[in-house]
Subunit: 263 residues, 2 copies
C-alpha cells in the first residue's frame, strides 16, 4: 500500500480537488427516505459518496456520530463501501484519540484494523508515546490536532511558552520529531487563517486537514491563499454544508471550484 | 441521581477504599476458561467485579480495549452488570474524548446514554467548548486530563507559560471556570508525585483520578501522602496488577490496605 500522503497527493491531482467531505450523519437531519432505511447512516453516506467521489480528495467520517447513535456497524460499512467503490480516495477516521502507549495501541487497532481507515486524527496533549503507536503504521496517515477550529481552542493552544504559543510547539514537535515515518499531518482550523499562515511557514511540507469552512464560518480564500503554498497539501473539510444541501453534488462541486479559484 | 462526586465519597467511606479497579481486558492475557467463553471480556469482568465490589470506590473500564477488539457490546454488558449488582459503585468510562461542541455532544451521548457510565475522562487540549457538553450532565463526573502518567507526558504538559507549566493552567481552568456544576475532577498520574502534591495545593477540593501505580511504577505512599490531604478524594487506579493477579481479590485487598496505611 502506498503512503497515505502519496495517495492524498494523487487524489488531489486526479480529481483536481482539495475537498474533503465529512461523513457526519445526524439522524434527525437525514432526508426521510434514509430515515426509513434499515441502515440509514450507511445508505445516506453511500448516496453522498456516489454523488461526490470524482470531486473530492478524501472522506472523513467523524466517529462520534456513529458511536453516539450506536451505529458502529454503519461506520464500518461506509468505509468498506468507499474502499470498494472509490478505491483511490483515502478515508480519514476522525477520532481524536490519545492515551498511554499500551492503550493507544488498542485505538490504532480500532482505526486501522477494525475500521480499515487510511488515516486517523489524534490528540497531542499526552505527548510522544500517546501518538507513536499510530505513527508506527507507516503507510497510514496520522493527523495531529494543532490549532483547532472551535471558539475556545485558544484556552490552551494560545498559551505562550518560550516565546511561541502551544500550538506552534505542537507543529515543531511534529515536524522535527514525530514525522519519522513521513506520515504525519496537522489539523488546522479554517477559522484561524492567520495562524494557518504561520503554521505553513513553520511546516512548509506537512499536509494540513482544515475543518471549519461552511457551518463554522471559515473563509475559503484565506485558507487556500495562506495554506496551499508551494504545492503544499490541504484537505479542506466540509460536512453539514454538503451533506444537507439540496443537491450535495452541486454543493461539493461549487466548494471544490471555489477552492481551486485561489490555488 | 446523586452527584457523581457525592457517590464516590460515599463509596470511599462505605468500602473504606480509594481503590479504582481498571477493567481493561486483553484477550491473550485472560485465563483459559474465559478465553473459551462466549463473551470473554464480560465474563472476566463479572468475575473481577464479584471478587472486588466490597473493596473498591469505583470501576474504570478503558474503552480502547473493547473498541480495539470489536467487543463494544461486552463493555455495555459490563457496565450494566455493575449497575445491577454493585449499584453503589460508580463506573468511570475512560475514553479521553475531546472535540468541537456539536461532536462532543455525540460523545457525551455515547458515554452517558449508550454506555450509561457515571463519569467520563476527557482531554482539555481543545478548550472549554470541547468539555462543556460533558460538564452539562450535572449528575455525571467529568475527569479532565491534567498531568498524565505516561513517560512523555511532559512534552506539552510541562511547557511553562506565564510562569507555570501547562498542566497547572489546566488545573486552574478547571477549578475556576469549568467546575460550574461541581462535577469536575482531574487525572493526575501516580508516576509524578511531586506534581500531584502541587496540584493538591492548587485544587484542594477536586477529586483526582490517579492511574499509574502497579505496572507503570507509581509509588503508593507518595501518592496518598501528597494527594489525600484534608479529606480530599483520590481514586487510585490499578488495572493489570489486579486483573491478572493469581488472586484478584487478594491483590485488591492488599492495594486497598496499602493505600489506607498512609491515609
Amino acid at each position: 500500500m502506498a503512503l497515505f500522503t502519496t495517495r492524498i497527493a494523487e487524489a488531489i491531482r486526479r480529481n483536481d480537488s482539495m475537498l474533503c467531505v465529512g461523513l457526519d450523519p445526524a439522524f434527525a437531519k437525514l432526508p426521510e427516505k434514509f430515515r426509513n432505511a434499515e441502515k440509514p447512516f450507511f445508505e445516506f453516506n453511500k448516496a453522498i459518496v456516489d454523488a461526490t467521489r470524482d470531486l473530492v480528495c478524501c472522506y472523513k467520517p467523524q466517529a462520534a456520530y456513529y458511536a453516539g447513535a450506536d451505529r458502529d456497524d454503519e461506520l464500518r460499512a461506509t468505509i468498506d463501501y468507499i474502499h470498494e467503490n472509490a478505491p483511490d480516495i483515502p478515508v480519514i477516521l476522525d477520532v481524536k484519540r490519545g492515551d498511554i502507549g499500551s492503550t493507544a495501541e488498542q485505538y490504532a487497532k480500532e482505526a486501522f484494523e477494525r475500521y480499515r481507515a487510511d488515516a486517523v486524527t489524534v490528540n497531542p496533549y499526552m505527548g510522544f508515546d500517546a501518538v507513536k503507536p499510530f505513527l508506527d503504521f507507516a503507510d497510514k496517515g496520522v493527523i495531529i490536532l494543532c490549532r483547532t477550529s472551535n471558539p475556545h481552542s485558544g484556552d490552551l493552544q494560545n498559551l505562550v511558552a518560550d516565546g511561541i504559543p502551544l500550538y506552534q510547539h505542537v507543529a515543531k514537535l511534529v515536524r522535527d520529531k514525530w514525522n519519522y515515518n513521513g506520515n504525519a499531518a496537522l489539523v488546522v482550523g479554517a477559522t484561524y487563517p492567520e495562524e494557518l499562515r504561520i503554521l505553513r511557514e513553520i511546516c512548509p511540507e506537512l499536509p494540513f486537514l482544515v475543518p471549519g469552512v461552511g457551518a463554522q464560518g471559515g473563509d475559503v480564500k484565506a485558507v487556500v491563499t495562506n495554506g496551499a503554498v508551494g504545492g503544499a497539501v490541504l484537505m479542506i473539510n466540509s460536512s453539514r454544508g454538503i451533506l444537507y444541501a439540496a443537491d450535495p453534488r452541486e454543493a461539493a462541486r461549487r466548494l471544490r471550484d471555489e477552492i481551486n479559484l485561489y490555488r
